[in-house]
Symmetry: C2
């Protein structure tokens, strides 16, 4: 990864045409050849970028001696032209390939724990199975209450409206199956937003706030982010 801080102007011509007037910016050249240009605000989105696979050529390439012009092109014929006016910093660093992001670590764990302790949801409740498959995706937990009524449980770390919508779709589908119907819904999360609670209640879905540490039964400072 190469980090360049430079006063530069930038022209992009591809899916649209765009121009950045001269200003100091960060130019990020990554090992895969991709280039992005960042201002000193906004974490997520670069001002300008070229996605890999692409190639960077320093110098105009026309042999016109414009060595301060960088040209980045990709397969689709998109071009990013960076005119360097003053380089303030330039360093390179070997990072190697990244092991990558592990998502839902805690949510998966919550599901595991809850499946093992269905009595958390109610006395006499039992597990049918985790990740119960349906046509529109797996239901986190399918179980039975003490009366043998089927229960679909949706687990989120933070319970928001879209989670309730998701569970509602599962319930609608599951209730079409005469072998399962009637199916009750339980919305379980470490934290449930008021709006989500109202919507769930309105739809006859019960809400359960989960205590991660209590479920684990032990403390683990490394994972206890809150």
């Amino acid at each position: 990864m190469r980090l360049v801080i430079a006063r530069c102007s930038v022209d992009y011509a591809g899916r649209l045409t765009a121009h950045l007037p001269s200003a100091p910016r960060l130019i990020l050249v990554k090992a895969d050849g991709s280039v992005s240009i960042h201002a000193d605000d906004r974490a997520y989105k670069p001002l300008n970028w070229m996605s890999p696979p692409c190639t960077l050529k320093e110098g105009g390439g026309d042999g016109d001696g414009a060595e301060n012009v960088w040209t980045v092109v990709n397969k689709g014929g998109e071009k990013l032209i960076i005119t360097m006016e003053e380089v303030l910093h330039d360093s390179s660093h070997e990072l190697g390939i990244d092991p990558g992001l592990i998502k839902d670590g805690v949510e998966a764990h919550l599901q595991e724990l809850l499946a093992d302790r269905m009595e958390t949801l109610g006395e006499g409740w039992s597990l049918i199975r985790r990740e119960f498959p349906t046509a529109i995706g797996p239901v986190d937990i399918l179980g039975r209450d003490r009366d043998g009524v089927t229960v679909a449980v949706e687990i989120k770390r933070r319970g928001e409206i879209d989670g309730v919508e998701q569970l509602t779709r599962y319930l609608e589908l599951l209730n079409r199956d005469p072998h399962l119907a009637p199916v009750k819904g339980v919305f379980a999360a470490q934290e449930i937003k008021p709006q989500a609670r109202v919507l769930a209640t309105d739809r006859g879905i019960s809400c359960v706030t989960l205590d991660y540490n209590a479920l684990r039964g032990i403390q683990d400072d490394k994972l206890r982010l809150f």
Copy 2:
């Protein structure tokens, strides 16, 4: 803007929970307090990030002496926890506020030029107006052919399928207006992808390849990116 290259592990807890195992990465701390973590690939998307407004605290904050732990929190209670294991580079740079991106410079210019030279599209063609308003957005150019038939022109720098779809929607709407109907469609671009051309032709929309320099009539090396 602060650039830190460090071997680190990262935990995010917010709209979801996610974890990055220990590896060397770039940590970008911007003037607005936002933080993003980049691997050595992918130009656009950070591995992990925290959008502003948010606050960064170096050190665990528990007084536990974990000074190598950075904690970033925002209003919504989202947390990003970076555990620094080995700092390989750390530099700060003053960039100031960015003048920002100017989009569509050339596309807007193309529209201007074409409106002034409707005969480019056909002998005797004339302009009704640019940015002709409709309920679903403005049509780039509305004009008439030599027979007085209304023509809707969609202009793109690169003609792709979505441009044809857009023009199709305009045509459908415009043809419902008895004062205008029948309305013909013209898809004009500096470069038209084969797929887009096929789709347009299939829908009775004619395609025109625009020559920017010919339309301008003069050369301008500064703007001529191709």
